[in-house]
Assembly symmetry: C2
Homo-oligomer: 362 residues x 2
Amino acid sequence: MENIIELTRGVPPTKSFAVDKLSICAHDALAGYPDKILQYSQSFGFLPLRESLAEIYLANKDQIIIGTGSLQVLDHLLRSFPTGTLRVGFEEPTYDRTITQLKRVQASLLPCPLKLEGVDLSALRKNLEEGKKVDFFYVISDFQNPTGSVMPLEKRHELVALAREHHFYIIEDLPYRNLRYNGQSLPSCYELAPELTCMMSSFSKLIAPGLRVGFMILPKELVHRTAKVAEDTYINPSYLDQALVYEFCCRGWLEEHLVFLKELYSHRRDVMADAMDRHLTGLCDWKRPDGGFFIGSFVKQSVQADVLMQHALKHGLKLTDGRGFYTQGGDQFVRLPFCALEDEQIEIGIARFAETLKTYPG
Amino acid sequence: MENIIELTRGVPPTKSFAVDKLSICAHDALAGYPDKILQYSQSFGFLPLRESLAEIYLANKDQIIIGTGSLQVLDHLLRSFPTGTLRVGFEEPTYDRTITQLKRVQASLLPCPLKLEGVDLSALRKNLEEGKKVDFFYVISDFQNPTGSVMPLEKRHELVALAREHHFYIIEDLPYRNLRYNGQSLPSCYELAPELTCMMSSFSKLIAPGLRVGFMILPKELVHRTAKVAEDTYINPSYLDQALVYEFCCRGWLEEHLVFLKELYSHRRDVMADAMDRHLTGLCDWKRPDGGFFIGSFVKQSVQADVLMQHALKHGLKLTDGRGFYTQGGDQFVRLPFCALEDEQIEIGIARFAETLKTYPG
């Protein structure tokens, strides 16, 4: 089949980049303070952007580390502990790259199942009650990657209470929090318990991923060890990119741009969810998300991920392997990103997905 | 004492940055191919710059990885092996950040003493003859950091022959190679044995460190594992910075800029070496370097690094702890960078260093 539709990666569409504005930002940053951005500097990141973030998040600038994307800062944090010593809980399914990073530092993994109604923390609770050490619990509370779900308020309170009682840290990954298309924001774990939370976020989904500007706000006792790993890794991250983001935010362009992005993405979310209502009812379980980039779908019939992907390709559809978001299993799970595709592609993609399931062999 | 002179870090002076040209590069890159630099992309780095490097170094573009500075790519390479399994030889003294990275991956360290007449490879040879595995030998062949020395041709041949016979790789770090102020370039280990050499270099000293653009050319069998670590760490490095470097090079501005830099630095080298001739004869051993940023000096009298640094501060001089460049010892070694300081500061700094030594307590 010609024109394969790719329902795979969760990347912003190129047309969403405010190129002309970024060009002005680059010019003004280089003209205004070249000495600050072209020289070696602190591993913590560009100070003015850290100060802006400190204001927005009511944090201490000295507890903010900006890196080459937030994933990199997570890696610094994990590497600040000896290999093989960490025990880390997380929702399952979760962001595949986080699982990869956890495996890389040989962390013991403690997955807690995430279904449409929210994460089930009983495995975490059981471990803690058995006296097992847990160092971190990683959670994407808003418009989760890959499911699109929002962590219910009572789950946030439950997790924070557990963290408080059993002395572990929450790593809260919030790259989609500002992309809410309807409904009210819930307090983040970071807002509920800043002293226990490593809150990470990024400008990748808000301005442009290629700039690789992400950050983490860390509890005091974790900041310096993390910044030391950053320094030993690259001395400092690129300050030019961070200065572009800073200039973009300073001018009020981020707020303006968010209005545009929310309109763009909420429309695409509706196109996909409507198409799913028409084509996938009875075939999958899913929930229309209130924000973010993804609709997570759980296939009702029993499928094998390899076969499903192969079969989808025959129908002109490329899918992501659901197993990447799980430590084991995941064959029934398909992440459907609506962010990058035009309406017609979304429509065709979902119809093809339905055809794939209806004609699934065996 | 007022106005402390800092003879510490080897950073380019801010005035050496071609700000206006870099601004044009940023504008043209963003206007010309925003989709290429603002989107997520390959962990290998910006393809056009990799293609340019492939031409310059007669390499295959698929064997070139560009990262957030070359140090970061070294880290990717080292991390592509299980923690605690590598055995790595190197000149001692060597670049302190490399020692830190080697320790971080729990490599077994095999230092080979580097004196004014060149590296003594007998410790390496002995290990190899005893059948001990060596995975890598790290060397800064041109204008070494911290000594400023150039590896003699026969040593290059000796190292390459050992690598060939005993199947280890050379990691050749060449950030200063293009900053030769007199004399003829020797063939690099990479040129002598590209199939055995991981050649790393950077634009930090040639254009601007803040852009964080460094690269490594790797033997085929090491490329993909290294790029995978890069991807798992940050998906991709900043492409905007790499595009700036690409545009800068395309326009022929790098060659122009090198002429300017060589004039700037060779003058400073002379100012420092002349001052050393006047003030330090009899107190230190050193050699006037043919390029780079540093003059490495070996203090003749017995000193203790802590005391020396403290005592220097009393004379208005900040020195780098020589022990950082060694796995053990290093008290007698002082790295003197001439790159960042104005003539007068260099003069005063060297005079103060001489005073520090002459009045060294005990």
